[in-house]
């Protein structure tokens, strides 16, 4: 019996744990490497970005307030859900022009990346925190704190591994993220949103917008309620004025290898706080 009509998925945005269409109503066509129409994806506007930042801000304190152990569990759960849907992601990557072997390899690497960063959740403080020697009757501690709301331009290629390699180290310490995925990475990013939505990641901790990253990034760089912008996967034609705008609220601008796996990537999304505490008797 082959009389089942295929049900095509509508790719929308991921904001505050929900899947809304773009406020603008705009979409763009996503085509496979050989030119087939795969989907009409939502083209996010600056107002969608504003809503996503608002959702990320309201989720941030709660997420940072979870225990490190619990955040690690949630990231591990993302890996579980991603692994369970590995066929779907492999198909998306093949549609993007990958060989079957290369597609499967990338999905495996991405799953491993989530597991690896999950393990870092309760180790960040030991590695980056310190007890400092001071000339007085005080304890002096330095410990890392999440930067806050991070906007992340993720790489078009490799889409799934790049997303895992940037998103996981940002959120593992308690940051919340607004991911900007370009047109080439849109379907992979929105499918990952479905994974995140079923992985006990609280609504708003990760928000994903798809569309024209070059058009959205200046709004993110100028937004006073964004604490860091990850440019690892950003187009390199950003106007100087947009980057200068980022200085207005001393935003942290993060550059780096879009597929690196390193604790130093986690550290790029941390602020170091130092406190003095009198030594008691």
């Amino acid at each position: 019996m082959a009389d089942h009509l295929p049900v095509d998925k509508t790719f929308k945005l991921f904001i505050g744990g929900a899947f809304p269409r773009s406020e603008s109503g705009y979409t763009f066509q996503v085509r496979s490497a050989d030119g087939r129409l795969l989907a009409n994806a939502a083209k996010a506007s600056r107002k969608d970005l504003r809503e996503a930042v608002r959702a990320a801000r309201s989720a941030q304190a709660g997420w940072a307030g979870r225990t490190a152990y619990n955040r690690g569990q949630v990231l591990y759960r993302v890996a579980e859900m991603l692994d369970a849907r590995s066929d779907e992601f492999a198909t998306l990557l093949r549609d993007g022009g990958r060989s079957d072997e290369s597609a499967r390899h990338e999905v495996e690497q991405a799953v491993d990346r989530w597991v690896w960063y999950a393990g870092w959740a309760d180790k960040v403080h030991q590695v980056f925190g310190s007890v400092n020697p001071v000339a007085g009757p005080f304890f002096n501690f330095t410990f890392p704190e999440p930067t806050g709301v991070v906007v992340q331009a993720v790489p078009d290629d490799p889409p799934l591994l790049g997303l895992a390699s940037r998103l996981a180290p940002a959120i593992v310490t308690g940051n919340t993220s607004v991911v900007l995925a370009g047109e080439a990475a849109a379907l992979v990013a929105m499918s990952l949103a479905e994974v995140l939505a079923t992985s006990d990641v609280p609504g708003g901790v990760v928000n994903i917008l798809t569309g024209d990253v070059s058009a959205l990034l200046p709004w993110a760089l100028g937004h006073l309620d964004v604490n860091a912008v990850d440019l690892a996967g950003a187009p390199d034609d950003l106007p100087d004025e947009a980057l200068a705008d980022a200085a207005e609220n001393v935003k942290r601008l993060v550059h780096g290898d879009p597929t690196a796996a390193s604790p130093s990537v986690i550290a790029q999304f941390l602020e170091m706080k130092t406190v003095w505490h009198p030594i008691g008797h």
């Binding site: 930042v53 801000r57 100028g222 006073l224 309620d225």
Partner: protein, 301 residues
């Protein structure tokens, strides 16, 4: 003992579907650039900046008053709000803070938010708030009497409260979420206006069912009918759950379209709110700078 007689209160039936559709349609209007700036300034001028918490202190009221007088410390072009709205105990502190500035002091009085205490106690509460310096009094409608069908009692209590107010303006809170539908709200509106209310107000802000645009439209239609039959312009105050600039200008649109632009002044329209002002300031900041702001750039109330 003679029974007082009352003029009949005319209540029109309400078309629920039409009312909600009309309110939704008015809420869909988009306002941009210079009109948006004018609307936001008008909204600020119509705000009753409110703090009604058990934890209110004279210090907190004083800082609220400073914000009421100059909402944005960095921008003197932002107008002051219409009034501060506080509990009776705090009136004397608020009046001292805003004296001579044009910002009025409003006080909830009369066993807010239930209204269920002896009428004499409630009118004494009003008199004492007015004596302390309140320019406006927000009372609650006696929902218990209203829902029991004792409309005469409701009327007489509002009239007694109006008398206790003296020169102060009387706003009557209907608490629309507890009245059970649009038609009772319309009836309560007509009743409150007939009894002498200077303003009718949607909600206390103390129950989850707060003001909705459709309820506001229902009350605005009642105000229009009252103005048409008696020639007296009664004001409208929306309160409870109004937190965003967009909601505020939707109420402005709704009032302007229903009652005419002459109602778009602080004398006839108020927005009771606390966090709304910060959102309006953020929106004005976005208009000025072209950048989105955030809660770190306005005061913590």
């Amino acid at each position: 003992m003679s029974t007082p007689t009352y003029a009949p209160i005319r209540t029109t039936s309400v078309d629920l579907v039409g009312l909600e559709a009309r309110a939704a349609e008015l809420g869909g209007r988009s306002i941009k650039t210079s009109s948006k700036r004018a609307a936001l300034h008008l909204a600020i001028r119509c705000i009753d900046l409110t703090t009604l918490e058990g934890a209110d202190t004279p210090g907190k009221v004083a800082s609220l008053c400073r914000k009421a007088m100059r909402p944005d410390a960095t921008n003197p072009a932002i107008p002051p709000v219409a009034a501060v709205c506080v509990y009776p105990e705090m009136v004397i502190h608020a009046a001292a803070s805003v004296a001579g500035t044009g910002v009025a002091v409003a006080s909830v009085a009369g066993a807010f938010p239930s209204g269920l205490s002896d009428l004499g106690v409630r009118t004494d509460d009003i008199r004492s708030a007015v004596a302390d310096g309140a320019d406006e009094i927000d009372i609650v409608l006696n929902r218990s009497a209203f829902l029991s069908g004792d409309l005469a009692k409701v009327h007489d209590e509002v009239a007694a409260s109006k008398e206790a107010c003296g020169d102060a303006h009387l706003k009557v809170i209907l608490e629309t979420g507890e009245l059970g539908g649009y038609e009772p709200v319309r009836r309560a509106s007509m009743l409150a206006m007939a009894a002498g209310a200077d303003f009718i107000k949607t909600s206390t802000g103390k129950i989850p069912k707060a003001a909705t645009p459709a309820m506001a439209l229902c009350m605005a239609e009642a105000i229009r009918e009252h103005a048409h039959t008696t020639g007296r312009a009664v004001g409208f105050k929306a309160a409870g759950g109004i937190r965003t600039a967009k909601q505020a200008w939707h109420y402005l649109v709704l009032m302007g379209e229903t009652l005419g632009t002459e109602w778009l002044t602080p004398d006839l329209f108020r927005l009771g709110a606390s966090s709304l002002l910060n959102d309006i300031l953020l929106q004005l900041g976005k208009l000025d700078s072209g950048r989105y702001g955030g809660p770190d750039y306005v005061t913590v109330d």
